[in-house]
């Protein structure tokens, strides 16, 4: 729902009551402000299920933004992917800084770059138990971008177009899947989903490990 922006006057001095009256809202106490709540489309005092906000629903991009649920599904774009073993994680919650999480040694955060994407993400490698889980999470995290770029092709990030690689402790770029998972977690410093054209220079590996459905 859009506010009446056209007729809305912004006060430069006394904010508050005047403007609200103009937009036909009352600043009554919560018990009386039924109209306000109804206009907002919310119900009073309902605890929105936490998992609803992280329910991954990355379907086709929706142009229709009118209902409130849109905000929740937009959260999907922002949340880290749901790792299978632990609870679904919301980005930045609980508000514990990375260096503190890393210090507890139960986390290993690495940056993930996708060629062509304007932003980086961080993933916690400790949250996954296999390459398959990690790749699935990366697909979720970057699929929004992929869908937009490869319009009609429903190619996931880890299809033919992108090759998952990582930089190890020695500074070499390797393909995912060569070493056992634990060893990979230990040595991985950062991830990069490379365009396959660029990945040609990397050490060759057995094809069966390339597909996104096997670990």
């Amino acid at each position: 729902m859009s506010p009446e922006i056209g007729t809305h006057q912004l006060e430069s001095d006394t904010a508050g009551d005047m403007n609200f009256k103009e937009t036909e809202l009352t600043l009554a106490l919560p018990g009386e402000s039924r109209t306000l709540k109804e206009m907002n489309g919310g119900t009073i005092g309902t605890k929105r299920g936490f998992l609803e906000t992280v329910d991954l629903n990355l379907g086709s991009p929706r142009a229709d933004c009118s209902d409130k649920d849109r905000n929740e599904s937009e959260n999907d774009v922002l949340t880290a992917a749901k790792p299978p073993a632990a609870k679904a994680q919301v980005v930045g919650w609980p508000p514990v800084r990375d260096y503190r999480k890393n210090a507890m040694k139960s986390c290993k955060y690495v940056k993930v770059a996708v060629d062509g994407a304007p932003y980086l993400r961080k993933v916690n490698l400790e949250m996954y138990n296999s390459y398959e889980q990690l790749l699935s999470a990366l697909e979720d995290m970057f699929s929004c971008f992929t869908i937009r770029n490869y319009l009609n092709e429903r190619k996931m990030v880890n299809g033919v177009e992108n090759v998952p690689t990582y930089e190890d402790k020695d500074g070499d770029w390797m393909m995912l899947g060569d070493v056992p998972w634990k060893m990979f977690v230990e040595s991985c410093k950062r991830l990069r989903l490379m365009k396959s054209s660029e990945a040609n220079g990397l050490a060759p590996r057995t094809p069966s490990k390339c597909s996104s459905t096997s670990g």
């Binding site: 729902m1 859009s2 506010p3 922006i5 809305h8 912004l10 006060e11 001095d13 904010a15 508050g16 403007n19 937009t23 809202l25 600043l27 106490l29 919560p30 402000s33 306000l36 709540k37 907002n40 919310g42 009073i44 005092g45 605890k47 929105r48 936490f50 906000t53 991009p61 229709d64 933004c65 409130k68 849109r70 905000n71 937009e74 959260n75 774009v77 922002l78 632990a86 609870k87 994680q89 919301v90 980005v91 930045g92 919650w93 609980p94 508000p95 514990v96 800084r97 260096y99 503190r100 999480k101 210090a103 507890m104 139960s106 304007p118 932003y119 980086l120 961080k122 949250m127 937009r148």
Partner: protein, 584 residues
């Protein structure tokens, strides 16, 4: 009054002003009359810029030509929790470049949440001949190469503090770049560095700096090296140990214990990664004089924590993991009567079930026993309104209260009610409250309490709370001293924001992410409020590719005299008068 101002010679006024240090007071002085403004601006030595985009370097330099100390902050606070995408901004280089020309006698630079490059550090190293203090708090973008340049060139360096910064690919050799003739170090904090520093260089450095008071080592300094270092610096007042773990051996133990007991001035301890409890008694002899203890990396359990804490009768500040549990906090309440600040961090923030017995009761105990408690950061998994009311009544002098109930929207676990009344009691009783972070199940009512009572509140953090725009309106309308407001995942939209647009010019900044503020409202604000930068951060692509009513992902609004900035990445759009036209 005006006659007096004219009759006092400039030198006298300048001398009087030299006793005035706070920015607020100096700003007040400068408003008295033109001549006081002129005198004051020539003798102001310290500048604090809370938002590096609120003003540009040339404006600062033009007004204050003789500055010796600069403090700048960059990214919004929620950047600490990965809510601000990489590349957003906060680059310090333009400031340093401008100051390199204008302030050759600059002595101190303190930066928080800024992007600092090696190039920047090299420029600092060679531009300021009398450079003394470098504090990089939660900064990123530089490597040990930059640090090497600082070490090699800053002959009079007193303080190098890298607290919680992210340093790229560190290697330990930069420390050797301090020349042998360098002896002026007073404070060194390298606790954030990942890899080993050169130990003999470190020991030699510590040994030749007789004024060293603060030394915060990093995790890679092993326990057996600590004794050597301590013996070279028995005058230390603040120590951050490295790893406090080694095979339990009597010779190592007596070496450590001896080294610690030689440090008669120690008041503050931190570090203590990977603690082997058997070595803890080595610090017992100095516990009674400790005023600050940071055990927030120490994975020691409650019995060891109790033994430790109960010997620290002078303790004023404690940072600890929730391994301390309610029982440890009871001990704290019993023995540490001078406690002023408590921070309890979660050992397993993502665990589904509680892994420790830490509840609301722990905090209640501390509030009962520690009458000077005024600063709290507490992570827990359950809370009640009653507990919060008790805490509020016990601590009317509370100034900072940050409660994080780990699961969003958790109600009072006994009554199943929202925690509105509990937080309401906090703001009602704690009249000096300056900083508040909310959590748990909260309706618009808590915001009404806040708007009504929290008159001294300067910073408010809100997540997963409220029902409607009324909530946001209460805060913007009622909190007279609000400077920083950060909100995530709340159902706040356009109405409250537009109705209180003028309020935003009285604040440093507003952050809203995963809320319901529409692109249209952002454009409107941008058009109407030229002294605000309205930044839309949206990783889905240009906001005009979606309907105007579509909520933006993230919104960062801050007042500025510098106009829109030009260093924005592709996913940030400023809503100014021009772009509003461009978008429509």
């Amino acid at each position: 009054m005006l006659r007096m101002a004219r009759s006092l010679p400039e030198e006298v006024l300048e001398h009087v002003f030299s006793f005035i240090h706070s920015d607020k007071d100096r700003n007040a002085i400068s408003m008295v009359c033109k001549s006081w403004y002129e005198i004051e601006r020539w003798c102001r030595r310290r500048i604090f810029v809370g938002n590096c985009y609120a003003v540009n370097p040339s404006m600062v330099i033009r007004r204050f030509p003789e500055v010796r100390s600069v403090e700048l902050k960059g990214k919004p606070h929620f950047a600490d929790f990965n809510l601000v995408p990489d590349g957003w901004g906060g680059y310090v280089y333009p400031w340093i470049a401008a100051m390199a020309n204008a302030y050759p006698w600059l002595e101190e630079i303190s930066l928080k949440r800024m992007v600092v490059t090696d190039e920047t550090l090299e420029l600092i190293a060679k531009s300021f001949k009398n450079f003394k203090v470098l504090v990089l708090s939660s900064c990123e973008g530089f490597s040990t190469d930059g640090l090497a340049a600082i070490a090699a060139n800053c002959r009079n360096l007193r303080q190098l503090d890298l607290r919680e910064s992210e340093v790229d690919d560190p290697s330990g050799h930069w420390l050797s770049h301090f020349p042998d003739s360098f002896t002026s170090l007073v404070s060194l904090n390298i606790s954030c560095l990942g890899s080993e520093v050169n130990f003999s260089a470190l020991e030699h450095l510590v040994g030749r700096c007789p004024n060293l008071r603060t030394l915060r080592l990093n995790r890679a300094v092993p326990l057996d090296r600590l004794a050597n270092i301590l013996r070279r610096a028995p005058q230390l007042v603040e120590l951050g140990a490295g790893t406090y773990s080694a095979e339990l051996r009597p010779d190592v133990f007596s070496s450590i214990a001896g080294a610690f007991s030689g440090c008669k001035e120690l008041k503050s301890l931190s570090g203590f990664w990977d603690v082997v409890p058997g070595y803890l008694p080595a610090i017992y002899p100095i516990c009674s004089s400790l005023t600050s203890l940071n055990l927030s990396y120490a994975t020691i359990q409650s019995p060891d924590l109790v033994k430790l804490v109960s010997q620290c009768q002078s303790l004023q500040r404690l940072w600890v993991l929730d391994y301390i549990e309610d029982i440890g906090l009871e001990a704290l309440a019993a023995f540490c009567k001078d406690l002023q600040e408590l921070r309890v961090f979660p050992s397993e923030p993502f665990a589904l079930e509680p892994n420790v017995s830490l509840t609301e009761q722990g905090l209640v105990s501390v509030s009962e026993g520690c009458l000077k408690l005024h600063s709290v950061l507490y992570f827990c998994r359950q809370m009640t309104n009653d507990a919060l009311v008790t805490i509020a009544r016990n601590c009317p002098k509370m100034t900072r209260f940050r409660l994080c109930i780990i699961e969003p929207r958790t109600p009072d676990y006994i009554t199943l009610q929202p925690l509105d009344d509990g937080f309401g009691a906090i703001v009602e009783h704690c009249k000096d409250l300056r900083r508040l972070s909310l959590s748990g199940l909260l309706t618009d009512r808590v915001f009404e309490y806040i708007g009504t009572h929290a008159k001294k509140l300067e910073m408010l953090s809100v997540a997963f709370a409220g029902d409607s725009d009324l909530g946001l309106h209460h805060v913007l309308y009622g909190c007279e001293n609000l400077r920083k407001l950060e909100i995530r995942d709340c159902p706040f939209g356009d109405k409250a924001l537009l109705a209180n647009a003028a309020k935003l010019e009285t604040m440093r900044s507003l952050w809203m992410s995963s809320c319901s503020v529409s692109f249209g409202a952002c454009k409107l604000l941008g058009q109407k409020m030229p002294r605000l930068n309205i930044e839309v951060i949206d990783e889905r692509g240009p906001p005009d590719s979606r309907p105007e009513s579509c909520p933006v992902e993230k919104l960062y609004i801050y007042r500025t005299l510098a106009g829109p900035r030009f260093d924005m990445p592709g996913f940030v759009w400023t809503m100014d008068e021009d772009s509003a036209l461009r978008f429509s």
